[in-house]
């Protein structure tokens, strides 16, 4: 029987690797799960006490996760974003951090009921991937890795949050259009608030995405000797960029707001996900080292 490299198999922890960071990561995962469960419970029993605790658990998970990432960075001696496990782990960490800021700033804990479970899903998928630290291919050793990965991720985190906000918008809008005001209607925020939040997140994410693509091109020039080589990841980033550019442009000129903005934000995040995961898993290209 073939043993799949998975959550608890020893094979994922290579002998030469300091396992510490993975142990810490799993502890963080447990806290992410606890927080997600509490946030979902909050959907049914809307008490401040519950959401406060869920927020606290998420903060703890985030801090433990920080520790895991730092210890991994020490072992690997580079930014932990070079394989799928590392990328997903880093991404979930940033989404958690981003959400903590969002709730702290806007006080809409009900969004956590959607963000926290989705983020835990990301953590879970991360653990299903091989977690070995691999030496960085020489081509990638550059400060540009840090800048390119960080800016791209920041943009994607903002889009991920915008995706959740927009999904909640579409749910709430459906209640109002169908004139069925039961279920979550009372608990979900107003359309106005969600639309505004979606817009802010998009305007926050877009400059980072742009910067990510530019720094990626510069890095590519150093690493591969060409700014742009129409590698699938590059192509898809560009498609993503055009989608978000269109949303923002449409909003400012002809008023793509409300329902349309929400749908487009969901579509845009689909493109982000495909660029992030789909390209790695399905299409061969220069970025494919990060698939395994």
């Amino acid at each position: 029987m073939k043993i799949e490299p998975g959550l608890f198999s020893r094979s994922t922890l290579g002998g030469d690797v300091n396992k510490m960071d993975i142990v810490i990561f799993r502890v963080a995962a447990v806290f992410y799960l606890a927080s997600a469960l509490l946030y979902v419970y909050y959907l049914f029993r809307t008490r401040e006490r519950i959401s406060k605790r869920a927020y606290l658990l998420l903060t703890i998970a985030f801090m433990i996760h920080t520790l895991a990432l730092v210890s991994r960075a020490f072992v690997a001696r580079h930014l932990p974003a070079t394989n799928l496990f590392e990328s997903l782990s880093l991404f979930s960490w940033m989404v958690a951090g981003g959400y903590l800021l969002l709730e702290w700033r806007y006080k809409i804990p009900i969004l956590g009921s959607f963000v926290a479970p989705l983020n835990f899903l990301g953590v879970l998928i991360a653990t299903l991937n091989p977690q070995t630290v691999r030496p960085l291919p020489p081509a990638l050793k550059s400060t540009w890795l840090y800048i390119h990965a960080t800016t791209s991720f920041l943009g994607e985190v903002a889009f991920a949050l915008a995706f959740v906000v927009s999904s909640v918008y579409l749910i709430q809008e459906r209640y109002i259009r169908k004139k069925r005001l039961g279920g979550l209607f009372q608990k979900l925020p107003s359309l106005g608030q969600l639309d505004e939040l979606n817009y802010r997140l998009l305007t926050l994410g877009f400059p980072f995405l742009t910067l990510g693509i530019i720094t990626g091109a510069i890095w590519a020039q150093y690493a591969w000797g060409a700014y742009w080589s129409w590698d699938p990841k590059e192509t898809w980033s560009l498609i993503t960029w055009f989608i978000y550019a269109a949303i923002l442009h449409g909003r400012m000129t002809v008023g793509w707001r409300g329902r349309r903005a929400a749908i487009l934000s969901v579509v845009g995040f689909g493109a982000v996900l495909f660029t992030f995961l789909g390209v790695n898993l399905l299409l061969p290209g220069l970025h494919s080292y990060s698939s395994m």
Binding site: R47, Q172, I176, R177, K179, L181, G182, F185, Q186, P189, S190, L191, G192, Q193, E196, V254, G255, W256, R257, G258, R259, R260
Partner: protein
């Protein structure tokens, strides 16, 4: 002694009788003196609203007759008139009734918020008149906290149960804060005016009134602190309006899909909410197919209200459970009160003896500060150790409901004088 409720409400009596029995503030003041002018009633409070007149009291057996006769005397109603419509509750049932009233479970509109304020005001007045004492103070404080608990833990007051409130609630769910939104009132129906008034109360930035007869629009605009505009300007006014309330007598749609489509393009797709209260309708239901446009007609709103009412009823069963739980807590406290005065006087009595004897010894033996302190500690310890078993016994008995009996026994055993505040007040009067 028992907690007693004597009262009548909208279910038991017609409005004419409730009007006759209603108490104004000054009348309540006088009533308190009358009610307390007798040892039967120790503490009293009157709650008089348009839906109920109720007298809450801490009274001896026979208190209810006394309260009923005082009511007849004060209000000049005959006994035959009063008796069939009044209800009387004792003890547990009385506490439960008071908690239910304060939590709006006994209201005509389930979960309506005014009753809490009315109970609070009545209680404060009674307290200021010194009509209430330890028992009713605790009871009413508890009633108010139960009401608050129910409001936060159940959805009993959550969703709107009138058409105009439901419309405003929807507007808030569409736009969020209303303070930068503009409302447009087309036509001048009564219900539309009410909805517009709610919107103004919720802080809408601007209100424009449009009507076929301009003078009527002006009149209404003045009343609602808005502006008036002639009917011809309607298409232009729509461009700026976020919330549109219509209630004209027009036979065909005055707001059509084409019109809204044009308007939406001009206002860059900013959401619009149409509240159509007119029958026949003023707004073509097809407008809903335009993106970011929401339209509710009177039937939709009434359906929302109906669903909300059902939801409140469901929440009320949760609230009843909370009431049961809190009644139990209160009764536990009440029972412990039967022995508290005796406990206090027994303690004081022992302490007085101890202090007197201690002083004698200290001065006779010319003890220094440190020795006196040691002796003080010694005597306190002896008194506390001796008192511990009887005091626990009394508390135990109280929680079993035998507090009164045991308290009397202890009082006789030690020849104690009860010094609770009821006595004080009786002496004052």
């Amino acid at each position: 002694m028992d907690i007693l409720v004597v009262g009548l409400n909208h279910r038991t009596s017609p409005i004419e009788l409730r009007e006759k029995l209603a108490f104004s503030q000054e009348e309540t003041q006088q009533a308190y003196e009358k009610f307390l002018d007798h040892r039967l009633v120790r503490e009293v409070m009157v709650l008089s609203t348009c839906n109920r007149v109720e007298v809450y009291s801490w009274a001896n057996t026979g208190g209810e007759k006394r309260i009923l006769s005082t009511l007849q005397e004060l209000k000049g109603v005959r006994k035959e008139e009063l008796l069939p419509v009044t209800y009387v509750y004792h003890g547990r049932e009385a506490v439960k009734h008071i908690f239910r009233v304060a939590s709006s479970l006994d209201s005509m509109v389930l979960g309506e918020p005014q009753i809490v304020g009315q109970v609070k005001d009545a209680f404060e007045q009674a307290m200021a008149s010194e009509a209430t004492g330890v028992i009713l103070n605790q009871l009413m404080k508890k009633a108010l906290s139960v009401s608050k608990r129910i409001r936060t833990e159940t959805g009993i007051g959550e969703s709107a149960v009138s058409v105009s409130y439901a419309a405003v609630e929807l507007a808030k769910k569409i736009f969020g804060e209303l303070d930068r939104k503009k409302a447009l009132l087309v036509g001048a129906g009564e219900m539309a005016e009410l909805a517009a008034q709610h919107l103004v109360n919720q802080g809408v930035a601007q209100l424009v009134v449009v009507n076929r007869t301009f003078s009527r629009a002006q009149e209404l605009a003045e009343k609602l602190h808005g502006e008036a505009a002639p009917m011809e300007n309607l298409p232009q006014e729509l461009v700026d309006a976020d919330i549109v309330i219509t209630s004209t007598g027009a036979q065909e749609y005055i707001i059509t899909r084409d019109m809204v489509q044009r308007v939406m393009r001009e206002r860059k797709m900013k959401p619009m909410f149409f509240i159509d209260i007119a029958v026949p309708r003023d707004v073509d239901p097809q407008v809903e197919r335009v993106e970011n446009v929401y339209a509710y007609d009177i039937d939709d709103l009434e359906q929302v209200v109906e669903e909300n009412r059902k939801r409140r009823e469901k929440e009320a069963t949760k609230a009843e459970r909370i009431v049961e739980e809190e009644v139990e807590n209160f009764l536990h406290w009440l029972r412990s009160q039967e022995v508290v005065p005796v406990i206090v006087s027994l303690r004081n009595w022992c302490d007085e003896i101890r202090k007197r004897e201690l002083e004698k010894t200290v001065s006779r033996m010319k003890l220094n500060g440190e020795e006196a302190k040691a002796l003080e500690a010694l005597t306190s310890a002896i008194v506390n150790k001796i008192l511990h078993p009887p005091l626990s016994y009394m508390k135990e008995a109280a929680s079993k409901g035998e507090g009164e009996k045991v308290a009397r026994l202890v009082k006789e055993l030690f020849a104690l004088e009860e010094k609770d505040e009821h006595k004080d007040r009786d002496q004052r009067q």
